[in-house]
Amino acid sequence: MSNSGNISDEQVEILINDVLEHHGYDFTGYSRASLKRRLSRLYSLDKHVSFAEFRYKTLNDNVYFKHFVEGVTVNVTEMFRDPTFYRLLRDKILPSLNTYPFIRIWLAGCSTGEEAYSVAILLQELNLLHKSLIYATDINPTVLEKAALGMFPLSQMKSYSENYIASGGKKDFSSYYTANYTLAKFDSELKSKMIFSTHNLVSDRSFNEFQLILCRNVLIYFDRPLQFRVFQLFDQSLDNLGYLALGTKETIDFSPISPTYKRVGTDKVWRKVSA
């Protein structure tokens, strides 16, 4: 049988079930159209000869399974993506956290770390980094290893620098990294206040209390019931008067937690107003 690169609906359900039973990763609450596309993409990129082979490797080969999780989840991210959002962080949200003796920030679904370094740059410029801690988590251990290196493609720096300036950055962006062949290695000072750890939003619990939670462009892959469960997890993990920041196309409106949250500005940021 040749590999046409397409996985059927039934095969999607078989894989979801296998992965849950065998590896304990729960993809049942993922939106199917996107998940099916990711699985088909992985199936054809990895040139499996048949679905049976794809299924067998996913079930039995733990090294391949790591690669499977990385391929199925979306790990596309940038530094200072959506500059207006970072401007809001810089001008309003982070300064308002200055009253806390210690600032805890959770970056849920941090992928390869570009957002964590962006937030750390803002904290440093606001002179808050020394009393902050950024907990950067992801379902996927492979991307966390990359995030911990703090090295990003040099070819992206022009666009990141433009984003940084558009978000209100005043410094020379290149002062934050040193060029190393094709990579830009970011100042290790920034990394000193980051903790990288695996965390699965679907199955893991709250692990601390935060003043700010960022989870941008992760929830779009989840169905409504799973989104609501994750909002409850965030609610349990957020201090009163803490902030929740989502992606441009995500919202807590119509969710069970929305009555106790107030929108801040025009970007997708809400503040917890009563507990």
Binding site: S31, A33, S34, R37, R38, V74, V76, I220, T248, K249
Partner: protein, 189 residues
Amino acid sequence: MRKNGMLVIGGSAGSLDVLLKVLPEVKRDLDFAIIIVIHRKQGTDSLLTDLLAHRTKLNVKEADEKERILNGTVYIAPSDYHLLIEKDFSFSLDYSEKVNYSRPSIDVTFQSAADAYGDNLVCMLLSGSNSDGVNGLITVRKNGGITIAQNPASAQVSYMPEQAILKANVSSVLNIEDMAAYINSLAKH
């Protein structure tokens, strides 16, 4: 097309002018939904939605994730996300890698619409300078849907509809002035 079907229109350079000519002539009470996927710069969303909303009697809005798809509504794919169609006739958004250097990619929307709507689907590819959408049209046709290309002679940039005609064996080729009447004829009442 039967009731509750879908029309997806994709385009790139030169396609906005076509939409501005065609949409004003489309009648209001359509028994299907219209989805528009056009390549453009990031962050110009509300501009495009406003621009189109002023030219038509139809309700025009940007597609939201998990939103249920309604007949008689024109949905615009938001910039910098892929727009996918779920089998329960709602939207999903996806911020994965660009496809054909594009996000939103027309191929991605055409293909997932073909998966969800099968033969109750019409996909139309307009003016543009790359071939995003052509593979999608092939899938649409394979799943029984109708595929249409703008007549390249009438396109500001002819490459995209030319590729569709060359590679996707489209069901028909339309001139701009015939598009609105065609779209109106898809409505069954």
